[in-house]
């Protein structure tokens, strides 16, 4: 039997605000436990939530960038459950009137044609705290630093039919979130998390099968593997005449398996009801226009602009816009070195190679546009040659040296003062009498050998054309 995989995605992304969603605590990652915590986010009696203006702005931005309808009167609801990471014992979220609805992101379908993945809704909510299990004291430690960090939950329709579609959707979504400045989307720090709802059904069947929800998917690679594993597991069960149990499963990327999680409580009844402490948010046309006007350039628009205004190829632009870190580096470098083509070539060639070789993620790259532009400018002006340029960039990348100082201290600059070349060439001519006389005797190939000797003597630091020109000058008369 041929099976079809049906998937929907719930993506949580932490917003790049300075403060938490309902209080003035910092959202900075890390820090000693409970140091980014106040009376409000630790749920002290009598405290009340105060909505961060930026959260609404970021949610609307995301909605507009994903073709959503913006809900004109949106409200918060309480989702009630007991767990130590949730100090109020309810999460302020949105159930009844989420801020964005009915959007879509386009991916390449299995048949190669564009396919729209529907976005059911996007809602605002608060993150929970972190639990650390202390084996020695036989207890659990609770840290509320992450508690109250603003999240968007982006819920797709069950439109995915392959892992490729899922990964492409996530890559596009991630680019949108990064480019709009809404989130830095660092999966390692948990600022982008995807849960996959997956079921299988015989191809051609209209009804959905029983689905499972997979959590703890920490990379795109893990997501692809988990989908492969879970769909295989469900198909095997059904082919053996067994049934799929609706449950939440946790993916273990080291072992490459998923296992059923013990549910937080037997009966999950979240008892949602409207949050009485927060007045509704009314979103006007003028507000939406303002957010649109302030919207940073999205990947597709950037591609177009790079091609039309900067003269780059379609291939180059799609690589450069694949990650915000490349875009930032490219745009700044291009301005500094006044050459889009050079900036693009260096980034796509040398920079990406260095990232690859060192296993560095683009977002963790420390290379500054000023230093990259300095290398490019030195090559362009002939101060150093391209080979030296690559070596200097390597040093900049690994040790963050200053490229100009490095070139100077290591005496790597090209000899541009032609009068300094002459004595060296005279020595070369004197030392290679045989070749010189052969050349003078009409054996023009001998010039190649003499050139090689000259460049060796100059340690490659002189422009080859200049050296050749000078040699001709000295030998041809």
């Amino acid at each position: 039997m041929e099976w079809e995989i049906v998937m929907g995605l719930e993506v949580h992304t932490e917003l790049a605000t300075k403060t938490k969603i309902f209080c003035g605590c910092s959202t900075e990652f890390g820090g000693e436990p409970n140091t980014h915590v106040c009376e409000i986010c630790s749920g002290q009696p009598g405290t009340l939530p105060l909505l961060n203006r930026r959260v609404v702005e970021f949610a609307v931005r995301t909605g507009l960038a994903t073709n959503c309808e913006i809900t004109r009167k949106t409200k918060f609801d309480r989702k009630n459950y007991f767990y130590p990471d949730l100090p109020k014992a309810y999460q302020i979220s949105q159930l009844y009137l989420p801020i964005c609805r009915n959007g879509c992101i386009e991916v390449k379908g299995q048949d190669g044609n564009p396919k729209k993945i529907g976005i059911h809704e996007i809602h605002m909510e608060e993150d929970a705290g972190k639990l650390v299990h202390d084996e020695f004291a036989d207890c659990t430690l609770v840290d509320y630093n992450r508690c109250g960090v603003p999240l968007l939950e982006i819920v797709s329709e069950p439109d995915f039919r392959s892992a490729d579609e899922v990964v492409e959707y996530l890559e596009k979504l991630r680019a949108i979130l990064q480019f709009t400045g809404v989130s830095d989307c660092k999966m390692q720090e948990g600022s982008l998390r995807a849960d996959v709802n997956l079921s299988v059904r015989p191809k051609g069947q209209a009804e959905f099968g029983t689905r499972t929800e997979m959590k703890n998917l920490n990379s795109f690679h893990a997501i692809a593997r988990a989908i492969e594993y879970e769909s295989r597991r469900q198909i095997d069960l059904l082919e053996d005449g067994e049934t799929v149990v609706q449950e939440t499963r946790r993916w273990d990327d080291n072992k490459g398996i998923s296992y059923a999680m013990r549910s937080k409580e037997d009966a999950q009844d979240y008892k949602y009801f409207p949050e009485p402490d927060l007045p509704p948010i009314e979103i006007s046309d003028a507000y939406i226009e303002k957010v649109k006007a302030e919207m940073p350039e999205l990947p597709e628009a950037k591609k177009r602009r790079y091609q039309e205004a900067l003269g780059l190829s379609e291939y180059d632009t799609s690589i450069l816009t694949s990650d915000l870190a490349f875009v930032r580096l490219f745009e700044a470098t291009e301005k500094l070195c006044q050459s889009p083509k050079d900036a693009a070539n260096w980034i796509m060639g040398e920079v990406m190679k260095l990232l690859n070789d060192s296993g560095t993620l683009p977002e963790d790259m420390t290379l500054s546009p000023e230093k990259l532009a300095a290398v490019i400018n030195m090559v362009k002006s002939g101060k150093i040659n391209r080979g030296t340029g690559k070596k200097v960039l390597e040093k900049v990348f690994s040790e963050d040296v200053d490229p100009e100082t490095y070139v100077k201290e290591n005496n790597l600059a090209q000899i541009t003062d032609l009068s300094a070349l002459r004595p060296v060439l005279e020595e070369v001519i004197a030392a290679n009498e045989k070749s010189v006389s052969e050349y003078k005797g009409g054996k023009t190939q001998a010039m190649g050998y003499i050139m090689g000797q000259a460049m060796r003597a100059l340690k490659g630091k002189a422009p080859a054309q200049e050296v050749q020109k000078l040699l001709h000058e000295m030998l041809d008369n």
Partner: protein, 95 residues
């Protein structure tokens, strides 16, 4: 609405409360009489009525995205029944 012991026990569970058998029986009786009374609300015609939320038309109350709090874990933990290593401590959550 008919209240029975199963429902009372379910409500205890939802509220993370446990009643003694005696309290449970009394509670069943009290909840029944309260709900019988509450059910008189069904006589009120609410056809086509929008559920109310906030009392007065107030909307868009927001604050600026500016950090106003400083680190003071000791203050936040001051009332904790058990705290260790700058954290609230609870009996283990995994088994």
């Amino acid at each position: 609405m008919q209240i029975d012991k199963t429902l009372v026990m379910y409500l205890e569970k939802l509220g993370r409360i446990e009643l003694s058998e005696e309290q449970r029986a009394a509670c069943e009786k009290d909840l029944q009489s309260i709900l019988d009374y509450i059910d008189t609300l069904n006589e009120l015609d609410t056809e086509g009525v929008e559920p109310a939320s906030h009392s007065f038309p107030v909307a868009n109350v927001v604050r600026e995205d500016v950090v106003t709090n400083t680190a003071r874990a000791d203050v936040i933990l001051a009332n904790a029944p058990d705290s260790r290593e700058g954290c609230f401590a609870v009996p283990k959550t995994v088994e």
